[in-house]
Symmetry: C2
Subunit: 341 residues, 2 copies
């Protein structure tokens, strides 16, 4: 079984974007603020957007199941206040839940949180509880920078974030550490901000003792860990300078990397440097890079091909494709076992 642990609903019906635009207009002029009930998306529309896109490519490429969360760049936690984020998160999480209910064998939902800059993350707990208990979500996406490229929140090791971590531990769900759109002109969203956030999050964990406080907390760092595996020697050396334990002890019981690295040499480095138990298959399809690589004739984001071509054995490949995801997402494993898988 091949589990893609990183998929977003990037292909939602246009009505969603129109509703969001109305909501953004409503921030300035309350008379324009739409009601949640104004957004009408039928099951048929959901089915169409999935069958023509994600599901088509999953079938074509041969992946079985996608952990499916709201579009990352659309989370845009910097827009409006907590109330705006809260309504927006609820709408998006419900859509992913409905997709998963329509295709229960193929999509399992993960939640975005109604984060808002300067607001206590504890405010996200009710949405998180609903998503886990009522929607069957198996994980969350946690944005370490709800300001959208201004980095005004404390680092992930700070107690600021602990309310979220306590709930994650209680439910035994991991968080993918995933930023959203950059509203800082310095950072291109998918070409700089995403990768920078991955590197930043890892280093925030490295300098902290977060996993002493939460030994079972699990973070999934997307996009192959940003710059981290390429600079693994640098990070091992920095940990040594900072008198931290070896990274295998200090971080790798809690931190995992996905395989959203869009060329063979990158995946070869990842599988050479990072222990295979810490690597989870993912493509972020359909996402930032949708084209065909002229050097290979295949889609850049068809990452399954790179894993298949990597110098690893069948057992290692099984871990990356399935075993590790079941271990890092215990609620996914339980859901699958409930289906006899």
């Amino acid at each position: 079984m091949i589990i893609d642990c990183h998929g977003h609903y990037t292909t939602a019906p246009k009505a969603l974007e129109h509703w969001r635009n109305a909501q953004i207009a409503g921030i300035e002029d309350a008379a324009l603020m739409p009601r949640v009930a104004d957004l009408k998306i039928s099951d048929d529309e959901l089915r169409e957007t999935i069958e023509a896109n994600q599901l088509r490519l999953m079938n074509q490429r041969g992946s079985d199941l996608t952990i499916f969360s709201p579009r990352a760049s659309f989370m845009a936690h910097h827009i409006g206040d907590f109330s705006v984020s809260s309504t927006w998160a609820a709408i998006n999480n419900e859509l992913c839940f409905r997709v998963a209910r329509l295709f229960p064998d193929r999509f399992v939902p993960a939640a975005m949180l109604p984060q808002s800059p300067g607001v206590d993350p504890a405010s996200c707990i009710p949405e998180l509880v609903k998503c886990v208990e009522q929607y069957g979500n198996v994980g969350i996406n946690l944005n370490p920078d709800p300001s959208g490229g201004h980095w005004t929140s404390p680092p992930l090791g700070d107690r600021h974030w602990y309310p979220i971590y306590e709930k994650m531990v209680e439910y035994d769900i991991p968080a993918m550490i995933h930023v959203s759109t950059s509203c800082n002109a310095c950072f291109h969203t998918t070409g700089a901000h995403y990768l920078n956030a991955d590197t930043t999050a890892f280093m925030q964990c490295l300098t902290s003792d977060l996993f002493k406080d939460f030994p079972t907390l699990k973070f999934l760092i997307p996009h192959g860990g940003g710059a981290v595996p390429y600079h693994w020697g640098r990070f091992r050396g920095l940990a040594q300078e900072l008198k931290k334990p070896l990274l295998t002890e200090h971080l790798l019981k809690n931190i995992f990397f996905d395989t959203c690295v869009y060329h063979q040499p990158g995946i070869d480095l990842l599988t050479r440097v990072i222990p295979v138990d810490n690597i989870l298959f993912a493509s972020e399809m359909i996402g930032a890079v949708r084209g065909i690589d002229p050097e290979t004739g295949h889609c850049f984001d068809d990452t399954k091909r790179y894993i298949e071509a990597a110098a690893i054995d069948a057992e290692q490949r099984f871990k990356i494709f399935e075993g590790n995801a079941r271990r890092v997402f215990p609620r996914l494993d339980a859901t699958l076992k409930g289906m006899g898988k």
Copy 2:
């Protein structure tokens, strides 16, 4: 000949740091502001700090020449105003010039600029002119984020930076794009901010048409290009989405990467992915990572070993060690030829 294109004066006599602390105190209380003449560092002191450190390791590891600039983390352009930065830059550039004069066969200077957040970069030109014309500097370090982790300046493709570029083109000197200390708690200076800046700078160039305006402008992106080579497929794919030419055409006539990547797999990826003509040998010794790698028994930052072990031939190795540096730093080449080298 082995040229290390990335060395900072990280081992300057303590008097320098004391003077800087006095200057910082003087920002708050003008009565405490030291005069430049208060800083007294003799040639003997300079010699000692170099012979016991950089020169010792250069001899031990077998590198011949270092392009030597002021300590990157000490530039701290976010401290004080232009006048503070200007005095501080002049002091540091003079020290590197003096080191180069004391060891003319082994060190060639590159300049820091007196950047200051919100101040027109044109204000840096007089210092740049002095460093090139009087001190024989062969390059500059350009900080894309003088705010120190708040990223308040425009991207590198913006006309904001053009006065610097015009002077660089006139003198035919490259800029290493190098940030300084992060004063944003989210970003560890050497574990996140440096690497993020490298990735960010590359993406800023990718989205711009900067090198159409300045076809001969040259940027050296340090720390192996941040996350860029590891995600080369992602960047090729993003360029394609953005309807830009192939990266070889669009950026690689102007952008170069150094080899400050502190483990063999990272250098193997770099040399596999990036054309050899775009790779310049560097160690950033003595810098962020000074320890011995327990996995190899050698210093993490002894990058020469990794180049020697990489799967490249003698001609490629020559380019990385010497040929490319002479091409990217034409004034270095002229200096060396003037010495009969």
